[in-house]
Symmetry: C3
Subunit: 315 residues, 3 copies
């Protein structure tokens, strides 16, 4: 999330009760979780295992629970509970204050766009021209939709990320990471009925121009989908994954988090993608393999009894 | 889609700017895509590979991009872009003009039917007697529901078909085939929560009498489901498929398009049906096989290490 | 379902036209289907195969189609159609009379709870403090939600059980068992978008404190989920199953009915759980096995061609 205007680091330090080590005159331009950081960003880290990764990342200002060395031009904000400090900043800039009208007066809706009854449009949503939002759709705060987009009934755009911090020191130990990111839907995208597209935790979930999505599809937080992809019914894609242009996923395919599916890849129905796969190929299986190899495997399995008889003399 | 009254072919030719070859006095009674054509229908074809199939189909009038020979009693409508011409006719007879009220004044709702709050009922919907439509359901234009039907909350009936024409000559290359078909739900059907049933592209998606459907089930366009079927949670069925009477599909089963599952077949959970399967049997696997054979296969796989040791002398 | 106050057995007998055999002064305290019976309950049985199970169950009063022997302190209610008699009692105490307002005046909503537009809250619903119910959620009659619960848009809590009685003597042969149970959601539970949680048939579907559920998840009737579980996107759990504390189910996992998943178990994505599995372990496959064993199996399958060549002399 980018702040509307840069914010002084001392103001942030005061807000979260941090000891500031580094340039006291620095200005922060945004806050992001580690997968999405840019120069000028605040980020947090609360485990020594990830100190180096965070300090060496693009982020400029590190909310951390211990003083440590850091590169020139960066700064540390030392607090006891970095995660809680991060949440405090997010909640300050994105307080929970939803619209209590079906269509927020702060939403901007383009010319020729039809919004059918029962559809909820949150604060600061931007929708382009010539779109159709069918009945009983939900578009949550800050999401952005291009031109000529069609969204079928019951679909939810901008639900919270499924992203929790495990705290083993307390009875109820999953603590939610508040989502302050958005969903960006580019031009000519079509989305089926009863789909769910989560907002980014701190960055954006993006659906590329011309991509077509069937019914009951789930797309996780911070996932980026390319142009002209086809996602068939009941496909599920976890968080922070990249699907490049022209990828086709057939029905009920599952895709794990933080991986990449290369351009022009096709994945057959019910397959499971657990690691990155190269573009331009056809895949099948759970976990996926080259589709033709996977098909051959089935033939080999059928030959085991014959092999057994030859070797063991009986079935 | 059938026209309310027959339409003169010359009127159609003028609408789409076509050169008419054949009987100028003929009357068209409807328009359908190739899977659903009947005598009196208009159909379109834009690839030489499918010319013969279309010209020899039940359709009487072929919108085509090249003059060719055709049987007596038929006619050609020659245009540069048959797909666009087809869309133009569909849009003329089924213009996008949705109801902006939660319940359209053109809907007909039978005696003793309860419609709970938040439910949207589109134009020209017909609903029988003694039905329950729970809260936040969406029934789209022209759909038809029998008597004693129960639909749980969040379900969408009549969303658009997931059916696109690939146009490789343009940047955004999937062009949607506008759906002008309906969903017909027969008597005593029950449908769970957050299901999606797409309308036919030009024909009807049909759910047979007495069929019971669990939650989060997806049924594609033009699919026909028989009587007294059971579809468990998260089943997905692609377009233009036929499920005969008394079929049971357990949870998360996926069924591909344009195939047939025979009467009284049972398919175990998480299986994938990619080709037609005979009735009266039990299936398992992805792709499905006879369930008992598939179970035996698992035992054979477990024996490979023993076989390896015998042949290779070591594991 | 427990009655508000105990009801005399003679009143019940009269309501359903039953011949009472046993203590005519007894009082019934509730009615339940056989999986959920307690002392004081009415239960029904209509097949000799289950007579003994019902008569020996915790239930005190058996609605049955034939006189038979029974233990002291119990009673029989003899009718021709026990199932219809059961439904009659359920319908008397839980008549279908839904709220026709978006938020029922009989619902109790705690302090600091936000209910966004388009959300339906049925009769006698109880919601705790500090909850967020996003737009277009549906909470049905009698459901109960704790404190600090978050429910994303489009989710349905309290839809009917998918539970039918097969009646082969009639044309439309699945007869629905009317659900009179509830959904109980404990404190600090979070539920994603477009999920569905069915009410119990006669008992309660329970989601334990601190459990986090992603989008498009289906949970069947009477299922009990422990504390601090994680259920990823598109997981489906059938009816009357028990998931113990700290269980993690990854995306698209399917779980069958009436089984138990032990404490601290983890099930990898797209797996299928068809029988009970022990806690503290990691599982994969459909049906599931120990994850590490299942992974090794894949390696063995790849070795079949080598084995074949050695034994058969050619591929």
């Amino acid at each position: 999330m980018r702040f509307n205007t840069p914010v002084s680091l001392t103001f942030i330090a005061e807000m979260i009760g941090a000891r500031l080590v580094g340039d006291a005159n620095a200005m922060a331009t945004g806050i992001n979780e580690i997968h999405k950081v840019e120069k000028g960003d605040l980020v947090f880290v609360d485990h020594p295992k990830y100190y180096e990764k965070c300090i060496q990342s693009a982020a400029s200002f590190i909310i951390i629970d211990k003083e440590t060395s850091f590169p020139d031009g960066k700064a540390l904000l030392i607090v006891k509970e970095p995660f809680e400090a991060y949440q405090k900043i997010v909640n300050f800039y994105r307080p929970f204050a939803p619209s209590m009208q079906m269509i927020s007066e702060t939403a901007r809706i383009g010319e020729g766009t039809a919004v059918l009854p029962g559809t909820y449009i949150g604060h600061h949503v931007v929708i382009g021209k010539g779109c159709i939002l069918h009945a009983n759709v939900t578009i949550m705060d800050h999401c952005s939709i291009g031109d000529n987009v069609v969204i079928q009934s019951g679909t939810v755009i901008g639900s919270d990320a499924f992203y929790y911090n495990k705290k083993t020191d307390r009875a109820l130990y999953y603590k939610k990471m508040n989502s302050c990111g958005r969903v960006l839907i580019e031009d000519a995208v079509e989305i089926g009925a009863n789909c769910t597209i989560d907002r980014g935790v701190s960055g954006d979930t993006i659906i590329g121009a011309g991509t077509k999505i069937d019914n009951l599809v789930h797309i996780g937080h911070d996932t980026v989908i390319g142009k002209n992809c086809l996602l068939a019914g009941q496909v599920g894609i976890a968080g922070a994954t990249t699907i490049e242009d022209n990828v086709t996923l057939w029905g009920q395919v599952g895709v794990s988090k933080t991986l990449t599916i290369g351009k022009d890849a096709t994945v057959y129905a019910q397959s499971g993608v657990k690691d990155s796969i190269a573009g331009g190929k056809v895949y099948f299986g759970s976990p996926v393999e080259d589709a033709r190899e996977k098909m051959k495997e089935r033939i080999w399995i059928k030959r085991i009894p014959e092999l057994w008889e030859k070797v063991m003399g009986k079935k």
